[in-house]
Amino acid sequence: MKSKRLLISTIGVLSAVSFLFPFFIILLNALKNKADIIQYPLAITKDLSFSNYIEAFNEMNYLTSIMNSLLITVSSVIVLIVFTSMLAYYLVRHKTVMTKIIFIVLIASMIIPFQALMIPFVTIYGKLGMLNSRLSLICFYLGFGVSLSTFLFHGFIKTIPTAIDESAMMDGASQFRLFWSIIFPMLKPIASTVAILNVLWIWNDFLLPSLVLFQEARTLPLSTFAFFGKYTSQYGLAMAGLVLSIVPVVIFYLIMQKYIISGVTQGSLK
């Protein structure tokens, strides 16, 4: 029994190492100069320094980009959670042919390759003069994010007994109030998953902001890539830029992780 537990622990440690290893390489090499990176990628060399980080920080307009990314990500995610949880609730509680069709169309749309939408999308919204604005970008994220978030909420809401709704209705609450005062608080675990998945998507998204925000108010992935274009072959600098762009998500994730493990994914199952 003891040896078996030891075996399991060993497997756990080994797999953790193999998952973290690439991060380790990047963190380490971001501190080195190019010659050392190529010659000794695994060694801790003598002259480690943070100069790559400082240069990357300045060159990427880190603070401006991070503020932009933060604004866009947070607003989009809040908008998404508010509206898709309501939509999902409606779709679950009203079983008609129409709601079923809506649900199927939502699921099917998850398979559309973004490249197939891209040009018609910019054509339409360019003509409407809605590009180059952060507000529009937030609306676009709502549109593109509806399907997955609704899908996740849908699965979770199904598990909430209708008896809860009924008793509240008896008390004379409107459906709208019922949803916000009773149902939504119960959605916390799934809402945090939806939040995490959407944050990861929007924070890292490159193609949509590059199409929408081509001039001002750039997000972090945009400045990371502009930075990359210039310094691809300067590995140390590029890696420092990478680390800087990952750090905010990692912090966010570590804060949110207790939610993601708990209720979370159960929702998508039922």
């Binding site: 604004l71 809040i78 040009i119 003509k127 604005s133 952060r134 502009a226």
Partner: protein, 444 residues
């Protein structure tokens, strides 16, 4: 959780607020350009408070990004009429970016184009009457002339061929190496042997990137043909059998020779651009098939040595066309949009481009900071580096091969590059390579 939600709500409100502000900003800016458009007279504009914003897509090449940004800043300070703004490329492919920007109605005023020009020609300003067009070297505008109009400003010439590390080659020949002595494949082989005889030096770095093989190495095959246009048309018509083409074999025999002396002979696809730069700069190899755009990084890595460029011989007869020539051409053109840009923006674009190649400040950036070889008369500053001077000498002596790759279809270089990679990797032989080339061209 409660605290968190308060924070989130504040952020949301803030972001919506800034979003609205931004929306307010945009029409204002639109008014400036539109206002200028209505007046249509540039002389009025000097009195107006704000400069006309002129956009440019990208920084010409990512490698010279910083220098170009500085040049733009200097120009913006030098006058009050126009303000050049760079729209970042973000490492995306230019055709995609331009298509998306045109589709959305936000086309930049100045763009850098190569083969894309044909697709966009109806949207581009005729530059025939500009000062820089009149100053441009003859022949440099050939590929930018469409329907009788000159649509592009030839921005620099680049040359490719065999780059060499002069210090290594001097050592190898035991004296001063003279590239003029290499006129045949046998001469080249002798040189390769001499380099290999040095301690710890391999002769060649042969880069396997598809653009290098597909656009540059193949260019020699196409531009050394006696009748270049007929050759390409014949391939398209399927009437040319490459196995019967003497130049095809000569061209590949030289390639075989380079493969044999390649530092990555055991694993020919291992090389990359960085590797090539490091190997040649540090004298680990004597030769590298590449172009003068690599000069700046080479010089940066090893300021001690000089780096030159020499021909890729295709036969054993020194008289054969191409054996004493290097490929020199215009890699890109600056174009000005006329469809979405106002009259004033177009004028601003022309003004900036003229400044870049006629003012002494612009010329300094052009030649010294961005390492471009000028293609215009009246340059007071000329490149001082060894490789650029060699390219200029080849050009003056008329010993240049045309860049036929500019006439390839858009998927020409990736397709032929893939076939060349197979050949380099020993997966196919000369006959199979000929078949792949013929099959590709017949589809066109």
């Amino acid at each position: 959780m409660k605290k968190l939600s308060v924070v989130l709500a504040v952020v949301l409100v803030l972001s919506l607020f800034t979003g609205c502000q931004e929306n307010k900003d945009t029409p204002d800016k639109g008014n400036v350009t539109n206002g200028g458009d209505v007046s249509g007279d540039t002389s009025n504009n000097e009195n107006s408070k704000e400069a006309v914003e002129v956009t440019i897509l990208g920084t010409i090449k990512s490698e010279i990004g910083e220098a170009f940004e500085e040049a733009v800043a200097t120009y913006n300070q030098s006058q009050k009429q126009f303000k050049i703004t760079i729209i970042p490329m973000d490492g995306q492919n230019p055709f995609e970016k331009m298509t998306a920007l045109y589709a959305s109605g936000h086309a930049p005023t100045i763009m850098v184009m190569g083969q894309e020009m044909a697709e966009f020609k109806d949207r581009l300003l005729d530059l025939s009457e500009t000062e820089f067009t009149k100053l441009a070297f003859p022949g440099t505008q050939a590929n930018a002339t469409m329907d009788g109009k000159i649509l592009g400003m030839p921005f620099t010439v680049e040359g490719f061929g065999l780059l060499y590390n002069k210090k290594v080659l001097n050592e190898a020949v035991g004296g001063t190496f003279d590239p003029a002595e290499i006129q045949t494949r046998t001469d080249l082989k002798e040189l390769l042997d001499q380099i290999e005889a040095l301690d710890g030096t391999k002769a060649v770095h042969l880069s396997p990137m598809d653009w290098s093989l597909g656009a540059h190495v193949t260019n020699i095959l196409f531009s050394t043909q006696a009748k270049k246009a007929d050759f390409m048309n014949g391939l398209k018509a399927g009437s040319i059998n490459l196995m019967d083409n003497e130049i095809y074999h000569g061209w590949l025999d030289t390639f075989d020779l380079l493969m044999e002396y390649n530092i990555h002979e055991a694993s020919p696809l291992s090389g990359d651009y960085d590797g090539g730069t490091i190997d040649l700069a540090n004298g680990k190899v004597g030769l590298w098939f590449m172009g003068n755009w690599a000069y700046a990084p080479l010089h940066e890595l090893n300021p001690e040595s000089e780096f030159g460029i020499m021909p890729y011989p295709i036969s054993d007869n020194p008289e054969d066309y191409g054996n004493t020539h290097i490929s020199v051409g215009v890699p890109m053109y600056m174009v000005v949009d006329k469809e979405r840009s106002s009259q004033q923006e177009q004028e601003g674009a022309v003004d900036f481009l003229t400044w870049l190649v006629t003012s002494s400040e612009g010329q300094d950036y052009f030649v010294n900071q961005m390492n471009f070889i000028p293609t215009f008369n009246g340059f007071e500053t000329m490149p001082k580096d060894y490789m650029s001077k060699e390219i200029l000498r080849y050009t003056e002596e008329g010993r240049t091969l045309e860049w036929m790759n500019m006439k390839y279809p858009a998927d020409g270089w990736p397709a032929m590059g893939a076939s060349m990679q197979k050949y380099l990797n020993g997966v196919i032989d000369q006959e199979a390579l000929a078949e792949e080339f013929e099959a590709y061209w017949e589809k066109q």
